[in-house]
Subunit: 206 residues, 2 copies
């Protein structure tokens, strides 16, 4: 049992190091040697846990997806009383996450997709799945907010995916400007859009 | 003169090959050998024009920026009668550009930023400049649309940058799903937002 616990700890260190290095320099530039050095783990231990760099990145995508799902599933924004209130609180949470260095808040999944969508599509699919599942988690509140606003046949899935377009684009601009200024404003625009769509007196009601 | 023209043609082929390869596999994975092969140019000719891969990518960022500025400056959307009409037509143009393979319509500048913002910030700055200048080109119409809608002290620069958040995020989702479905819908959401902000009876007028 002690050995198993220690092995899990080593594996976790390597996955976290890979998540950081992909967010800093991208998948292609990442070297197994640097992952090991960052994790403080020997190369022998690395190959005890992973077949190689691609396997590491795929398992890191899985960890990223599971952790993100748990983080947002357990978040405070679900406690808001109305569906629109929950969506606005979700976007506020996205704003609050934009702290520290850019690499600390940018998206492992989105970066992995950029680097591997053509060359390693199965690996990219792990990143895409994280984005898809996170988007899908917003659909129930979006559908309820649309219903409450009197919008019939509203495409909840489309708007859920649009929120992730804004998230991914905000993080690209954060990398471009080396900070979160445009990203913070982007989330404010997303909040305004949600309020205009679903707030009192929505002009789109049909 | 003939030799100079031929040299320019070779240089252009190499720049176009670099733009394609960065969009396909990213900056880090791109090899000079593959750029030369794609361009049908010898390595000797490559080093006649460029100091190396970083110089190539920096000059490609310059070319991308200049070409994009020219493409959008000369585009039809400027002919719409109202500022809001021009903004909506601009977004329609973005939709029309989403044709062919993902690598053909994704953004060299945004991909370069992802790959190099930490490791080669001067190179990333060339990509960021392309995004910045393109965003800035929309500010006059945004300010005029806000003015026409009675919105005072509107942050035109902030909304201009938000449009590019949507562009970059739409292209990330295109890579994630291997097609333009979410990107097309994202631009429709952006159009709806612009209409709600600036259209007749804007609820934000102050």
């Amino acid at each position: 049992m002690a050995r198993k616990g220690s092995g899990e700890k080593t594996r976790g260190k390597l996955l976290n190091a890979a998540i950081d290095l992909v967010r800093i320099e991208g998948y292609s530039a990442m070297r197994v040697e640097d992952v090991c050095a960052r994790a403080g783990v020997s190369k022998g231990a690395f190959f005890h846990h992973f077949l190689g760099k691609e396997d590491l990145a795929a398992q890191a995508a899985d960890r990223w997806r599971v952790n993100a799902n748990a983080l947002f599933a357990g978040a405070e924004f679900h406690e808001a009383e109305t569906p629109l209130g929950r969506l606005l609180a979700y976007v506020e949470m996205r704003k609050a996450l934009l702290s520290g260095e850019v690499y600390e808040y940018c998206c492992y999944a989105g970066t992995l997709v950029h680097d591997t969508y053509d060359s390693l599509p199965e690996l990219a699919a792990g990143g895409a799945q994280a984005i898809d599942e996170h988007a899908a988690s917003l659909e129930v509140d979006i559908a309820a907010a649309a219903d409450a606003a009197g919008l019939r046949d509203f495409d909840a899935r489309g708007l859920a995916r649009y929120t992730q377009v804004v998230v991914q684009g905000a993080l690209t601009l954060a990398k471009a400007e080396g900070g979160n200024a445009t990203a913070l404003k982007a989330f404010d625009h997303l909040k305004t859009y949600l309020e205009l769509l679903f707030g009192p007196g929505s002009r789109l009601a049909n």
